[in-house]
Each structure stands twice: as structure tokens, then as C-alpha cells.
Amino acid sequence: MSIKTVPQDMLKAVIEGFGRDRANLIPMLQRLQEHLGFISPQAVAAAAERLGLSESTVYSVASFYTQFRFKPVGRNIIKACRGTACHVGGGERILSELERQLGIKPGETTSDLEYTLDTVACIGACALAPVVLINDEIYGRTSTSRILDAVARQKKAGVSCACRP
């Protein structure tokens, strides 16, 4: 299992770093996600309490923004850029092959919690399109085969393999 178990006091520490001002809601959610990997129900409740908002208000704001997730993420996060330059350079082909190989759609996580597949609107490295992020590493001027190889290499280093041997 890769979900970090976060002590309650860490959650508290993050939240208490912010003043009781609604304008802090999004930055607070961003920091929470940084620590937890996702926005858990406890995080929503804590944020709501701190800012004097209802939990549904917090959910409604958080769910509006694509950055926030509400489910645990995989050990590896793969993000395919779906920007124009990447599209023109074949990015959609890379994404659909990743979907096929991992057996999940963007936004989903493999059942072994190994991979989360996602898209990003554009990471601003369009001159190096197509671009894919694997965790924090950006692969530029890439291709489907290179990305699948990189995923396979990670697999080798890690646990079982859903994609290529």
C-alpha cells in the first residue's frame, strides 16, 4: 500500500498555518493535497471547520478545480499533456495507448495502486511536444514507445506489471 498514513496532528498543523479567511480555502486544499496525495473526507471536514464553511461548500469548490482528487493516488502518477502542440504532435495516441496498457481512464488508478493516469491541460513546454509527466519528471519530444518503455522500466524496479513485460 502506498497511501501515506498521515497523523492527525500533521493535518492539523497544515490547517493551522492558515488564517480563518475564506480566501485561504484553495491554498489550504493545495497544501493538504501535497501532504496527503488527495483530499480525504477528514481533510474536507477539517478545512470546513477551520474556515467556518459547510463541508458541501468545501466540496463544491474543490471539485470545480481539476487539480484536486478525492481518491488515493497510485505510487506513480502519469500525466499526458493534452495541449494543442502535444495533440498535433501525437499526444492523443500516447494517451490512448497508456489507457489501453494500464486498463484505466484518465483520473483513475490501477487496482494495485501502482499507477494513476491523468491529463494536464498544457505544461508550457510545447516546443518539446509531445510531453508526458511521469511523477515529477517531464519527458519531452517523446513517443508512445518511449513512454511505455519508461513505464516498463519503472515496473521492473517496482512490483508487478500490468503493461509490458
Binding site: 469548490v61 501525437g90 494536464v120 491541460a121 510545447c126 508512445t144
Partner: protein, 622 residues
């Protein structure tokens, strides 16, 4: 007006340091470590530089700079030796970088065959100068004036090159009204999309009655395919910060926000660092430079919603709400952030404002066309040789940018279309490339300037697919508040998807056109209002491609999966098996040594991996 202190001393000190740096007797090595550089491996080049210097026992100053604009050649390393112009080397690898350092610095051989160009006074045999380099010829750099020249983390570098002099001039010599007048005279128009006169916008906000006012810098840069704001923030953050402070002084704001997307982590950290530095030098905070003017900037990170680039949505987002636009009026200049008068400007607009205050309005005003003054910045991407960042005078013909600066289309292909202005823009066909790049000409053509993303497309791009792509983007990004945008774009997308699947009908074309009209005229914000533009321009200029999909069930460019098939060109294939190993569907089988492989169309999932891996061009799409 209280006297403004200390700045001249700071400036003199910065200039002296800068002179020492550029005239030093030790070699100066510069390496571009903006995002594009990093993605291409700049950090491993930086390590290689360090190791080589150690190994050779050489002393050199190594400076990390932003992106000079030649992203296609990244990683780029420059070397300046005493008395010589700076030489730029592209396509670096750690080995090459180490070798060049040894060859040039120790043995005096500048390796002209590996160089891109020289920058600065003087000439090196066999290397074109900056002005002779096709990509740089014809560029006039205002917003990009310091990108690639300075270390963005060093405020002194910016000051030495004229930075904060505009702010100093404003605070020490000009009243807020005079600042606005100067911006108005310059003819500066907003570079974030709509092209609204900046001076007028500042004036509205200044005239609004309220003691509390805000300035916001819109660095959301949601347009996919655009990366100029990122480059400026990463390469020259102070030019933007200075612009924000000048705007704040002009309209009378004590607080400002810089809203930057979280997808740009390097830009976020660079900007935060710059703000701290500005504060340390009394350029920000209480009593700026002793003038009595107080001003502070907060950084807000976006959370991944394109619509938050829209002014009223951006304001809602800063307030901690869903980023949903609201109807205007009231305009933000009257009632913006927390109901107070608020001025919002784009990154480039502000970087240009600080230039104008330093260099006076006439220099800026003398560039460009009658109604579009100054320069415009474009991010060149797609199928073009010199991908990267450029800045040209307004009105420069599109073809000069594509063929001259951009170097034309690679792989012997020809230009099919240029997509300008992001999802709100349009696709111009190759035969429109005589048009000038200014607000008026672009609008007339059906595209818009937008924020300056420019994507070149060649024969291998399908225009119906591109239109479908943009609608799927808009559909995913619609905030959902108004029906025409939420459901209308869904409807258009369904039709386009059907056409690309080969199930299109001829009635679909007039249907798309009528939907476009309704969505354009009834959407609340410009996201919905401009979303039909890519469809309308492709219909206007590439109708035959729609017809090929609908009538002949054929995708002429070979893109739309349902309408294409992959085959092996038997004459070209040498049976190397690369594709056999790579094909994830096991659709290709090995037939024997030196014999063409066999592709089973039934198994093929049209992923195109064989096309990627084949070195002999033996895979064909039809």
C-alpha cells in the same frame, strides 16, 4: 512628493557588478535552465560543466539563465570569453558540452560547426551573428528583453539592464495620472487576449471611487500551446513585478495579486523568490524607495481550471470560490476583488509597461501598425522547425514568422494551417500567410491574437480532428454555468466526433454553423463565446476536408482512427523486427530475414507505435 532615495546607489552598484561579470577575465558560461531547458536535460549539462571545469582545473563563472527563445535547440549552453562575443551552442549533450569547453576555453577552437550564433559585439569566423541568425533576425525584444541574458534569481542583473528605472522614474518624477498618460500615449493594448487599451483600463480603475483598490497580474496562461508567460516569469520575473508596482501606483492600489497556474512550478518559485528580493530592496512593501507609496504582492496558485483566466472567474478563484465567470457590468475596474475596483493585466502587458516607463512611450509607439502598437510575443510550436519564443513588431506578416523566423516546416512537408489564439482563435490556411499579425488583421481573418500561441500544422494534421480537439478542450473546461456553452459545445462535439468516426451527414455542416451562431451570441463569457471559432475557421477554409470525411468516409491526413489503416510498404521494409517487438497488439509478424513483415489489419489498434519506431519509413497510413 517625498524624495525617493537609495535607488541610484542600488543601480550604480548593480551596474558595476554586472560590468565585472561580463567584462571579467574569467570565462563566463551560461546555461538556460527554464522549464524547456530542464526538460531537454539542462541540469545534466550543468553537472557536466562543473565536472569539466574541475577536471581541467579551470575557473569560470557559470550563470543559470532563462530561455532565450530557441527552445528547439535546447539544451543551450553559451560561452563568453574575455574580449569575445558570447557564443551559443545548441542541442547539447553532457559529452558535447565538456568537449566544447575544453576545445574553446583551453585550445581556442570555438567549434563553429556546433554553434548556433554569437550574441553581442564582434564576430567569430564561421558563426552567424545574432542578427544573421534566421530565427533571431527581425525580432524586436521588449517583453523578452532580458530572457536568456540574466539570472532570474538575481535582482541586480535586472537592475543593471535598466530594471526598476521605470518605477523609479514614476515614483520620483511622475504623478499617477502622468504614468497613465504615458501608457496611453504608447498605445499599449492588453496582451492577454482582448487587446483593450491598457491606459484606458488603468484610467477607469483610477477614476473609480474607493480607498481600497487591487491590481492583479493574470499569469494563468490557460491557452494550451502558449508558453510565453511562463518563459517571462521564469526568465525575467522582475519585469512583471515592476509592471505590477507601476500599475498599482497609477491606479492607487495598496495590494496586488499574481495569479499563476500551479502547472508551472518553476515559474511559481521564481516569482516568489523575486518578490522577496524586491521587498528586501525596498521596491515592495511599505514606503517604497522612500516615496511614501505602500504596496504588497501576494502569489496565488491556480488549481487547474482554464476558465479562471477570465477576469471575473479569476477574482472568484482568489476569493476562495469556484472560478465561475459572472456577467458584466459591473466591470472589475468598478467592482472586482471583494467588490473593490480591480485592474487585471496579463504578464506581457505588465512587462511591456515597465519597459515603456523606462524608455518612454515614443519608442514603443513607433513600432507596429496604426492601431496595434509595439511588439507581440508568440510561442511557436507544432510542425515548425524553430520551435520557441519570439517577439516581433505588430503587423509582421505571418509568413515571415513561419518561414523566416520559424524556419519553415520540417521533414519536407508543407504548411497546411496555422492555429492562432488558442481555443478562442482559429486556423488560418497556408495561403493566408500574407496577413499581418496585428489585432485588426487577425480578427478579420477569423482568428484572434489571443495570448500568442501559434501552432503550425502540416499535411499530416487533420483539420476536422483539430476542430474536434478544441471542442473537446472547451467542453471539458466549460464552467457549466450557462447552457449554450455547456450543452451547445457538447452538441457540436458530438457532431464532430461522429464525423471523425465516419458517420457524418451532409446536414451536419449547416447544423454546426447554426449551433456556432447561437453559442457565440448567447454565452455569458468569452470561453463559450469564442469556442466555435476553431470550427468556424476550419469550415471556412477547409470545408473540403469535412466533405471528404462525410461523403468519402476518408481522412485525407490519415489521422482519424476509424478512417485509416496501417500498412507495410514492402519495398522499404527490411524485416528489422523493431515494429514486431513494439506493437502492443501483436498485429505484426516476422516473415523471415530481409523480408517485409506482415501486418494483420484486424488485430491492429491503430496506435501508430510501428510508425514511431520504424527507421526506414516503411509503415504507411492510408
Amino acid at each position: 512628493m517625498p524624495p525617493v532615495t537609495n535607488f541610484t546607489a542600488l543601480q550604480a552598484e548593480s551596474k558595476a557588478d554586472w560590468q565585472t561579470l561580463i567584462q571579467s577575465q574569467t570565462p563566463h558560461i551560461l546555461i538556460g535552465t527554464a522549464t524547456c531547458g530542464k526538460v531537454s536535460g539542462a541540469m545534466s549539462i550543468l553537472d557536466a560543466i562543473g565536472m569539466t571545469l574541475d577536471k581541467l582545473g579551470l575557473k569560470a563563472t557559470v550563470t543559470q539563465v532563462g530561455c532565450f527563445g530557441m527552445c528547439y535547440a535546447e539544451p543551450v549552453m553559451d560561452i563568453a570569453l574575455p574580449g569575445m562575443p558570447r557564443i551559443s551552442y545548441g542541442f547539447m549533450t553532457p559529452q558535447k558540452a565538456g568537449q566544447i569547453i575544453e576545445d574553446y576555453i583551453i585550445n581556442g577552437n570555438p567549434r563553429p560547426e556546433l554553434a548556433l550564433c554569437t550574441i553581442g559585439q564582434g564576430k567569430v569566423e564561421g558563426i552567424p551573428t545574432f542578427e544573421e541568425m534566421p530565427m533571431l533576425k527581425g525580432q524586436i525584444r521588449i517583453a523578452l528583453r532580458n530572457c536568456g541574458h540574466i539570472n532570474p534569481l538575481r535582482i541586480g542583473h535586472y537592475i543593471a539592464r535598466g530594471g526598476y528605472a521605470g518605477l523609479y522614474r514614476a515614483l520620483s518624477q511622475l504623478t499617477p495620472q502622468q504614468v497613465i498618460d504615458e501608457i496611453t500615449t504608447s498605445g499599449l493594448r492588453g496582451r492577454g487576449g482582448a487587446g483593450f487599451p491598457t491606459g484606458q483600463k488603468w484610467q477607469f480603475c483610477r477614476d473609480a471611487k474607493s480607498t481600497t483598490k487591487y491590481v492583479i497580474c493574470n499569469a494563468d496562461e490557460g491557452d494550451p500551446g502558449a508558453f510565453m508567460d511562463r518563459s517571462i516569469l521564469e526568465g525575467d520575473p522582475h519585469s512583471v513585478i515592476e509592471g505590477i508596482i507601476i500599475a498599482a501606483y497609477a491606479i492607487g492600489a495598496a495590494e496586488g495579486y499574481l495569479y499563476v497556474r500551479a502547472e508551472y512550478p518553476l515559474a511559481v518559485s521564481t516569482v516568489k523568490h523575486a518578490i522577496d528580493q524586491a521587498r528586501q530592496h525596498s521596491l515592495l512593501g511599505r514606503n517604497i524607495l522612500g516615496s511614501g507609496f505602500d504596496f504588497n504582492i501576494h502569489v496565488k496558485e491556480g488549481a487547474g481550471a482554464f476558465v479562471c483566466g477570465e477576469e471575473t472567474a479569476l477574482i472568484a478563484s482568489i476569493e476562495g470560490k469556484r472560478g465561475i465567470p459572472r456577467s458584466r457590468p459591473p466591470f472589475p475596474a468598478v467592482s472586482g476583488l471583494w467588490g473593490k475596483p480591480t485592474n487585471i493585466n496579463n504578464v506581457k502587458t505588465l512587462a511591456m509597461a515597465s519597459y515603456i516607463l523606462d524608455n518612454n512611450a515614443a519608442t514603443f509607439e513607433s513600432l507596429g501598425t496604426e492601431k496595434s502598437k509595439g511588439t507581440c510575443v508568440f510561442a511557436l510550436a507544432g510542425n515548425i522547425r524553430h520551435m520557441g519564443l519570439i517577439e516581433v513588431a505588430m503587423g509582421t506578416p505571418l509568413k515571415e514568422v513561419i518561414y523566416g523566423i520559424g524556419g519553415g516546416i520540417p521533414k519536407n512537408k508543407s504548411l497546411k494551417a496555422v492555429q492562432i489564439g488558442g481555443p478562442s482563435g482559429g486556423c488560418l490556411p497556408a495561403d493566408m500567410s500574407h496577413i499581418g499579425l496585428d489585432y485588426e488583421s487577425l480578427v478579420q481573418s477569423g482568428a484572434i491574437m489571443g495570448s500568442g500561441g501559434m501552432i503550425a500544422m502540416d499535411e499530416s494534421n487533420c483539420m476536422v480532428d483539430v476542430a474536434r480537439y478544441f471542442l473537446s478542450f472547451v467542453q471539458a473546461e466549460s464552467c457549466g454555468k450557462c447552457t449554450p456553452c455547456r450543452l451547445g459545445t457538447r452538441q457540436m462535439l458530438n457532431i464532430l466526433e461522429r464525423i471523425t468516426r465516419g458517420d457524418g451527414r451532409l446536414e451536419d455542416i449547416p447544423l454546426l454553423e447554426s449551433l456556432a451562431r447561437v453559442i457565440k451570441s448567447t454565452s455569458l463569457c468569452a470561453l463559450g463565446g469564442t469556442s466555435p471559432n476553431p470550427v468556424l475557421t476550419t469550415l471556412r477554409y477547409f470545408r473540403d476536408e469535412y466533405e471528404a470525411h462525410i461523403v468519402e468516409k476518408r481522412c485525407p491526413a490519415g489521422v482519424c482512427k476509424a478512417l485509416i489503416s496501417y500498412t507495410i510498404v514492402n519495398q522499404k521494409c527490411n524485416g528489422c523486427k523493431l515494429c514486431v517487438k513494439a506493437c502492443p497488439a501483436q498485429a505484426i509478424t516476422f516473415a523471415g530475414k530481409r523480408q517485409p513483415v506482415l501486418l494483420n489489419e484486424k488485430l491492429c489498434n491503430r496506435c501508430g507505435i510501428c510508425l514511431d519506431v520504424c527507421k526506414l519509413d516503411a509503415v504507411a497510413v492510408s
